[in-house]
């Protein structure tokens, strides 16, 4: 008997492939930022291919950010990174998949890298491993550490491991992490952009890699020098599908009552079929949205903070949200994810990010894309990541990103955790 050396995982059937291959390192240029993409079941070979492709521009990078598909074994990846980039600080982030100029996919075997070769633009890395105790405390520690290395930073990339436990399903809270970060920074805080690591669409696991270890309850911040700033387009996919409901009873991420009724009953009364099926799983993707600003004023998709309904409990008639940042008294609406809207926003957002860069020198584009927006989850006619990639294919600024859990981006004057969005950020060097 022969055995193939693949790690186990759990995925639905799907197929994404690279649209177009760019020459190795072609996306990297004199800006001192190099990117590369690979797709390979052999972790060591994948990382070796990435190193090879960035070697022209960044033969001795100062910092490496690795996005790695969740079917790669993290310990093998850690060993391979240390062997391939000896002595070079790096951060590895697990993703359901990776999105790059050269290709994208969520098979879990993708790998992508951004390497900074110039001291003027390279970030500093700080890490906290305290999320197991408290997301807020971990965020506060991270904020303090970040400020200590670059007190006047304007831009911080924030990544964290999303999964607290698989059974029972519990997630680390990005909103508490962000609140903690701002508390720990204590002052004029930088813009936070980032996302939650995942290994697959089932929210089974998540990890971060640093030079010394694989971390499963950790958060990391890439703190950029002041000259680096970010312009961000948030691509959305949801539109209101109900009248307003008021949250009248809530406990953390569990909404117990809406309009004074059991939350699940109230939700079901507004759906054509019950939210929770016989197996206890959500029968459809459903989201609660909180409108920012004037409740009855004109609104666009950007005016909503959306929270995916993770599950519902038929016994307690409660629903559980992806994040615990709604409050009693908040007015919310059911939001329906709209495939056409998602595709339109992907196209328009990608076009906008190419034009909204006056007087800046773009270095690299990050696309942090909610894994739920993948075609296999959202049932879109095409992959929206493919639209973003296609729109930016001829742009000289390289694109790199990953399929995430929660996204983090600035909304309404501060960074927030977002659901079901694509965060398309261009890191620019001010001139």
């Amino acid at each position: 008997m022969k055995t193939a050396p693949f790690v186990t995982g759990s995925w639905p059937g799907l197929d994404i492939s690279a649209r177009q291959s760019a020459p190795p390192g072609a996306r990297s240029d004199h800006r001192g930022v190099a990117t590369a993409y690979a797709k390979c079941a052999d972790t060591r070979a994948a990382i070796s291919a990435l190193a090879h492709d960035i070697a022209d521009v960044a033969p001795a990078p100062l910092f490496v950010l690795l996005f790695l598909g969740g079917r790669h074994d993290p310990q093998s990846a850690l060993d391979a990174m240390n062997a391939t980039f000896p002595g070079i600080p790096f951060l590895g982030v697990s993703g359901t998949g990776v999105i790059a100029s050269e290709g994208f996919g969520y098979s879990g075997f993708e790998a992508g890298v951004i390497a900074w070769a110039g001291d003027r633009t390279a970030p500093r890395l700080v890490v906290t491993t305290r999320l197991a105790q408290s997301d807020h405390a971990g965020g506060a520690e991270l904020g303090r550490l970040a400020k200590s290395v670059e007190a006047d930073s304007a831009t911080v990339l924030l990544f964290y491991s999303s999964v607290r436990s698989f059974e029972p399903r519990e997630l680390h809270s990005a909103s508490k992490l962000i609140d903690g970060f701002y508390d720990g920074w204590d002052g004029e805080a930088p813009t936070l952009i980032g996302g939650g690591a995942l290994t697959d669409l089932n929210l089974s696991e998540s990890w971060l890699l640093t030079n010394d270890a694989v971390h499963r309850h950790a958060a990391a911040a890439l703190v950029f020098p002041r000259v680096i700033q970010a312009t961000t387009e948030i691509l959305r996919a949801c539109r209101p599908a109900s009248a307003f409901m008021q949250i009248t009873k809530l406990s953390g991420d569990r909404v117990l009552e809406l309009d004074g009724r059991a939350a699940l009953d109230e939700i079901n009364s507004r759906l054509p079929a019950p939210l929770i099926n016989a197996e206890g799983h959500p029968s459809q993707i459903m989201i609660l949205g909180k409108k920012l600003g004037d409740r009855f004023g004109p609104a666009s998709t950007a005016d909503f903070v959306n929270r995916l309904i993770l599950t519902g409990d038929p016994k307690t008639k409660s629903i559980t949200l992806f994040e615990p940042d709604f409050s009693e008294g908040d007015w919310v609406q059911l939001m329906s994810h709209d495939a056409d809207l998602m595709v339109d926003e992907a196209r328009n957002g990608a076009r906008a990010c190419r034009t909204n860069l006056p007087a800046f020198r773009p270095l690299v584009r990050l696309y942090i894309d909610c894994a739920g927006r993948a075609r296999v989850m959202s049932a879109t006619p095409v992959e929206e990541a493919g639209i973003v990639q296609g729109e930016l294919l001829n742009d000289p600024t390289p694109l790199m990103g990953f399929y995430s859990g929660v996204e983090i981006a600035p909304v309404d004057y501060r960074s927030r955790s977002l659901d079901w969005t694509g965060v398309l950020t261009t890191l620019v060097e001010t001139v």
Binding site: M1, W11, G13, N202, S204, A241, L271, A339, V376
Partner: protein, 385 residues
């Protein structure tokens, strides 16, 4: 003197305004439901489209990646690599039924396992041609015990099984279902057919290579399905000694109990007589199909009626093969059923209209330019099936 005006106190809504608000809230709820329904329909359509596109792409890519393989080791590696990259499953086995032990399989190759965690062999109490098990469903239900065994073997709850009766080659795919997973379903028969068919094609191509050809090591023959190399033995199609004959009434009753024919094929007795053998469990053997009542086997005289009967009456939608009665693979069946088959063929010939037989034979000899006169459908049916 400055006069400050107090903010106007908002008037309480009138009864009409309250009713209007309730009306619009209800309208919003109804429109929201309609939007959900429309979105759901769109999702179903898009998922069906995606599934079709993926299957098409899978077939094409499988053909490409297996085109250049020269050994079965390489075939398994490339095959598993693609299957894993396309997220079709997280664990997989390629196994081969042992000729001497029906239902006993040797594991040729595996993906996603620790080498030590798998035995070299496993045995199934029932061997369907196609099947799957999930938390909600097992198909065919009669193979439940086999799927429990496979679940223990691979350690994952959802299993897809594909088996080629002729060569004994079997493919096992396994996943862990979750909120994002599309669990295995009946429609996955197409997927199983594409995957197993590709494996079989390449196995056969490798078998066809002359001994000593480049990159074809001697041990290659040992690693490939033996039944694809050797002339198939008569044990491939065994008679079901417990039930050598099955009536159409039995078939209908069994179908009502959600049991379906797993495999069926025809045996060509002569130019104008075909008999159908079928099985619900290939490990138990095959039964000769008899008419609704009486003891005569069901005979068929033309391809169209054969296909119509097996598809519509037996609800069998798998592959259909016609074996000549002297084919080694069906020897055991023919020997067992010979008296009945011969008697049925003779009786049919005696009942048939002589002119029709002449015209039919002329047509076969001379081709379509001398097509015989068509008989009314009812008459044709009565004489053939």
């Amino acid at each position: 003197m400055t006069i400050t005006l107090a903010d106007p106190v908002p008037a309480a809504p009138t009864k009409t305004e309250t009713r209007e608000l309730a009306y619009y809230r209800n309208l919003a709820t109804d429109l929201g439901k309609d939007l959900q329904r429309a979105q759901r329909s769109l999702e179903v359509a898009n998922n069906a489209l995606r599934r079709f596109q993926e299957l098409h792409r899978l077939g094409r890519r499988l053909s490409l990646v297996t085109l250049a393989v020269t050994t079965t080791d390489e075939l398994c590696l490339r095959f598993f690599e693609l299957v894993a990259q396309l997220n079709i499953c997280s664990r997989a086995l390629i196994a081969r039924e042992q000729t001497s032990a029906p239902g006993a399989f040797a594991i040729d190759a595996a993906m996603g396992f620790e080498r030590a965690s798998l035995p070299d062999h496993f045995k199934l109490p029932m061997v369907p041609e196609f099947g799957f098990t999930t938390a909600a469903d097992t198909h065919p239900p009669s193979a439940a015990a086999s799927f429990i065994m496979l679940q223990r073997l691979v350690g994952l709850p959802s299993i897809l099984w594909a088996y080629d009766v002729e060569t004994g080659l079997a493919l096992v795919l396994a996943i862990t279902p979750g909120p994002a997973n599309t669990d295995f379903q009946l429609d996955d028969r197409d997927l199983a057919t594409v995957l197993l068919g590709t494996l079989l094609d390449v196995y056969r191509r490798l078998q066809a290579r002359p001994t000593g050809a480049a990159n074809a090591p001697e041990q290659e023959a040992a690693a490939s399905p033996s039944r694809a190399v050797e002339p198939p033995s008569s044990t491939i199609f065994r008679i079901n000694h417990a039930k050598p004959f099955i009536t159409e009434t039995d078939v209908t009753r069994t179908a009502q109990a959600d049991e379906h024919v797993q495999h069926a094929f025809y045996v060509e007795w002569d130019d104008t007589h075909y008999f159908l053998f079928l099985t619900y469990d290939t490990a138990s053997g095959y039964s000769l199909l008899r008419k609704w009542r009486g003891h005569s086997p069901r005979t068929f005289r033309d391809l169209r009626s054969m296909i119509r009967h097996v598809r519509d009456s037996l609800s069998y939608h798998g592959e259909l093969t016609i074996y000549p009665r002297d084919d080694a693979r069906v020897t055991a069946l023919v020997e067992h059923a010979r008296p009945l088959m011969a008697a049925a063929a003779n009786a049919e010939d005696a009942e048939a209209e002589p002119i029709a037989a002449v015209l039919q034979s002329d047509y076969q000899r001379n081709g379509p330019s001398e097509r015989p006169q068509e008989r009314p459908p009812s008459e044709r049916l009565s004489s053939t099936a």
